[in-house]
Symmetry: C2
Subunit: 288 residues, 2 copies
Amino acid sequence: MIKLGSIEAGGTKFICSVSDENLHVIAKTRFSTSSPDVMMPLIYQFFQEYQPRAIGIGCFGPIGIDPYSENYGKILATPKKGWDNYPFLEHIKKHINVPVFWTTDVNAAAYGEFWLGAGQGLHNIIYWTVGTGIGAGAIYNGQVLTGLSHSEMGHILVTRSQYDHFEGNCLYHYDCLESLASGPAIERRAGEKAEKLPKNSNQWDLEAYYLAQACVDVAMILSPEKIIFGGGVSNQEQLFPKIRYEYKKMIGGYLEPSPLEKFIVHAQLGNDAGTMGCLLLAKKLIEN
Amino acid sequence: MIKLGSIEAGGTKFICSVSDENLHVIAKTRFSTSSPDVMMPLIYQFFQEYQPRAIGIGCFGPIGIDPYSENYGKILATPKKGWDNYPFLEHIKKHINVPVFWTTDVNAAAYGEFWLGAGQGLHNIIYWTVGTGIGAGAIYNGQVLTGLSHSEMGHILVTRSQYDHFEGNCLYHYDCLESLASGPAIERRAGEKAEKLPKNSNQWDLEAYYLAQACVDVAMILSPEKIIFGGGVSNQEQLFPKIRYEYKKMIGGYLEPSPLEKFIVHAQLGNDAGTMGCLLLAKKLIEN
């Protein structure tokens, strides 16, 4: 049996998985995120047991993804203890000598949703994750789209509602999407955890107003076939009609996708998107 | 001699060119834009004389670029008389039986700037044209980046300055970039043609404020190595330090490209970007 490996390195937990070549997961384990000297031996040990033929890694960012840069394979500036400037990929390759695909957590999840979730059968999608932070990945012609670095779509600028005087929740930007629309932003503004808010709270109208702006901007810039929302906040199903309503107003009839119900949609893989994406990326390495 | 052809189909003029295989232009002609029954015979006649081996077309949009759609090769909804739903590519191919590369005017210019202008030696750029309208093209890994359709970056949403009460100049959006920052928008707001305004007019501060927002959004979404500005309004050199200043403020130290003078730059090919792009795209067709 050819085995594939997946490492989802997140801010709160690491998930390591192994599957067969048909992506049936045969082992999966979770570790609460702490420093590298604790985490890395756990990873090595897990994969030593299963000996995958290739591994896909989806890592919290920002990370170095330019193979020609000395930053390649590193976790860049992060407040997470021990991980700042940590050469993650180098250590993995030293201990587990197989091909490794290295990308961000959100890009891996986007890849999973593209091939196995809400993006099946399409060519181009944007996948947003809206939770503790906000990020997005673009899959174009079946590939993870990157430039000089990976995208940081959570930090696009949005226009504030005139009724929103919240100070924002981003260290860098008063008015970026993550600052105003992440789970913690909702919580701090409303004084209550997002998932505890009633479905008819006006916080969801505000949230939809910001997410719709993000949809307009990526639609105008990248022209995706579908915009997919995952992450904890996106589990609030009442958001979707509201996002589409705001989108329709904002787009003003200009190149409006039809029907909007098929353009702005909920992710399908839930918490498995990242694992599936990493496994697929590992599989691609073997096939090439 | 292998000859290459270029058609720049613009809203005010059409430019047809022929070059040798080294892109030295050997013939070039301009026609004021009128209806298809006038323009098309002029195009056929020009190329009949020169017999190029392939042609690149950069056409005003929106156009159909999905080869699997029945809209492929057509000019889509446009107020320009006679051109609405016009099957441009089909007619060209019927009369000039050579390979044709079909894209938008701004994508062609972006391609020219990428290979021969300010983008030389890079992998990923965004090229903005700011003039009568605003549009942008993204060249990623040397290819014109498209999704379901070509990008419509001129219509991304921007946050209005609190001092700007101009009604906007876009038929569809009160607050899109083109609505607030195109040449005609400047003219209508200031009551004077943009090129007649003094270099120290506060219109340029406002213009830079909007263009900087556009730069932040494309940087966060696409992570280009360089953002290049062409088009008539961009000839106002005093804009560039202002755009960089606003960009720096907005980005708040988050992944700030260094130096900004090399990140946000003026185009180098001027009015030739479109021709050069079309010729290069034609050349690529032959080489493949």
